[in-house]
Subunit: 344 residues, 2 copies
């Protein structure tokens, strides 16, 4: 009684994305099934097709927007026809302290990823949003707010959530000076959100050529982080640095830019933190890690985005362009997020 | 018009400590000069005699207790005969935000160390407490509280301050679970203070043989951190870990012991932080650095120590035993702090 679904999968590790079919489970009582309309392309997709992948074929994609086609018997929040969005987490234990607080991405038994994870109820491997249809528990689906472009909403579910949650946790707001390091898929949303939260917002980029773009996104100032003189001038200035860089990079000059007691939150998950302990000690500073927010944070973020008219700046590509988009993403050649138009 | 002072100095990098004389400045208006009675032996002394030293001869020692012998014309807080204590910082800019907040150790122009630093007023190199006399600005001197053994107070000024400041900053108190990692000069005071602050206090030690000692210091529990099974059982448990280990050591199992949003504060200044970024990301955890507190924190700490009867557990040694004490400290052979009896 399963449903045959056409998806776009890496058939083996590192392989290209190709059409592939799989059997999707029947709806459990709290499930919603939706036709995927749009799905963003995240750096995690590159990692997962590559070194991180567990089970192939692997269907990536965890920034999904779609239209509900079926609801389980106990679903209360959605009906057929609703526009829903789903992010990188589709299940969790629901009983540990972070789950009870709506911070399910930090589930102490490890949340269930939208793809390439074992379903918690024995229904095999989870499959992502590069597909004509996805099914998941309604707890992890969000109503897409009216008034925002659904295609540009998709990246909010991972990229947006990953920057919004730490901006809120470390108090980005009026009277605070916040730096966004790396102006890509995550960083461009970080600039928009930090500015909208009321913080004095400074974009850090290695490329002077990106300065005008960063100002256009809403940054009050731009610092070219490859210029030692500009970096030295930032000493002791920032209450919060949100570092979106996904590769190992020198963090000591950034940490020295934090004020006493300030925090650098890295959301890029580099392999190691290249930081000198004395830089933290000197100002009793903190280096934190962060990822996408939980359901309570995501609901708040979507509300906030509606209020401030924030969505991602996207390049919309067709289903037959997924491999090109992945290759361009690997080369940092995108402003600022690819979204695949799966409904077209 | 200077004063000739007998001190105990490393005459060259890595050299033994030998008697040596130097000319101490005349009192400036806010200076107090004091006869050193006791001076603790800190790991920093080992580093400074060794790789960190700048100017030789170098007089170490920055956990000092002494009796005031002279006060400058504008001194208001001390008179001749008072017992005073001085720690690792003896001057700062006094104008930057942390200085104005009484957090002078985090002075944004770099605080002046008790020894081997350039005096801010052109009076040469600062000299430490392994000496018959020391002079410094009264702002950085503290009244030794009545009712505590002055010899055992000396280590509070660095070891005690270095653990008290982060325990307070990250909210160690009732309802919080706090781990103290490494039960040495700093850690033994960390256990006493965390317990007295009301936190559920857990000592982490690599050596099962130290368990009884840690319980005697006040720990509610002891975890043998070299035992993977015991470490795995700590997952997601601690609001704060205060890590006093001065050498590079695996921090990932410690970070995984933090609860969601928890902080590991390293005060041991290892050369690098051996930590996997994912461990921070997974629970939005923080890795902080910390050092000795500023004057406002130290005053509070001394009050707190009087209220709770806290001093260091020391081994008192003579002036002719400084080299032996340094060698034993380098070998971790001390319970828990050497103090040199300079007044004897």
């Amino acid at each position: 009684m399963t449903t045959t679904v056409t998806a776009y999968a890496a058939l083996e590790r590192g392989g290209p994305i190709r059409p592939w079919s799989y059997e999707q489970r029947d709806a459990r009582p709290h499930d919603v099934r939706f036709e995927v309309l749009f799905c963003g392309v995240c750096h995690t997709d590159l990692h997962s097709i590559g070194p991180w992948g567990q089970t192939y074929p692997l269907v990536p994609g965890h920034e999904m927007v779609g239209r509900v086609t079926e609801v389980g018997s106990d679903v209360t929040h959605f009906t057929v026809g609703d526009l829903v969005a789903v992010g990188p987490v589709v299940d969790s234990c629901r009983e540990c302290p972070p789950c009870r607080a709506g911070l399910e991405t930090m589930c102490q038994t490890i949340a269930t990823s939208a793809y390439d994870a074992q379903d918690r109820h024995g229904d095999g491997v989870t499959r992502g949003g590069f597909a004509e249809s996805v099914i998941c528990d309604e707890r992890f689906a969000y109503a897409v707010p009216d008034g925002l472009d659904p295609a540009a909403v998709a990246p909010l579910l991972c990229a947006g959530s990953t920057v919004y949650a730490p901006l809120r946790q470390w108090g980005a707001g009026p009277g605070r000076t916040v730096g966004i390091v790396g102006i890509g898929g995550l960083g461009h949303l970080g600039v928009k959100m930090a500015r909208a939260l009321g913080a004095h917002t400074v974009a850090f980029t290695t490329s002077a050529a990106k300065a005008d773009d960063a100002l256009a996104l809403g940054a009050h100032e731009v610092v070219v982080s490859s210029d030692p003189e500009q970096m030295a001038a930032q000493a002791n200035r920032f209450d919060l640095l949100l570092d979106t860089v996904p590769v190992v990079h020198p963090m000591t000059p950034l940490v020295l830019s934090l004020t006493t007691g300030g925090t650098l939150c890295s959301v890029g998950l580099p392999d190691t933190f290249d930081v000198a302990p004395f830089a933290l000690t000197l100002g009793r500073r903190s280096l934190a890690g962060g990822g996408a927010g939980g359901t309570s944070e995501n609901r708040e973020m979507l509300e906030f985005c509606v209020q401030h008219g924030i969505t991602a700046d996207i390049e919309l590509v067709g289903k037959d362009e997924i491999n090109t988009a992945l290759a361009r993403l690997a080369a940092n050649d995108v402003k600022y997020r690819f979204v695949v138009d799966l409904g077209a």
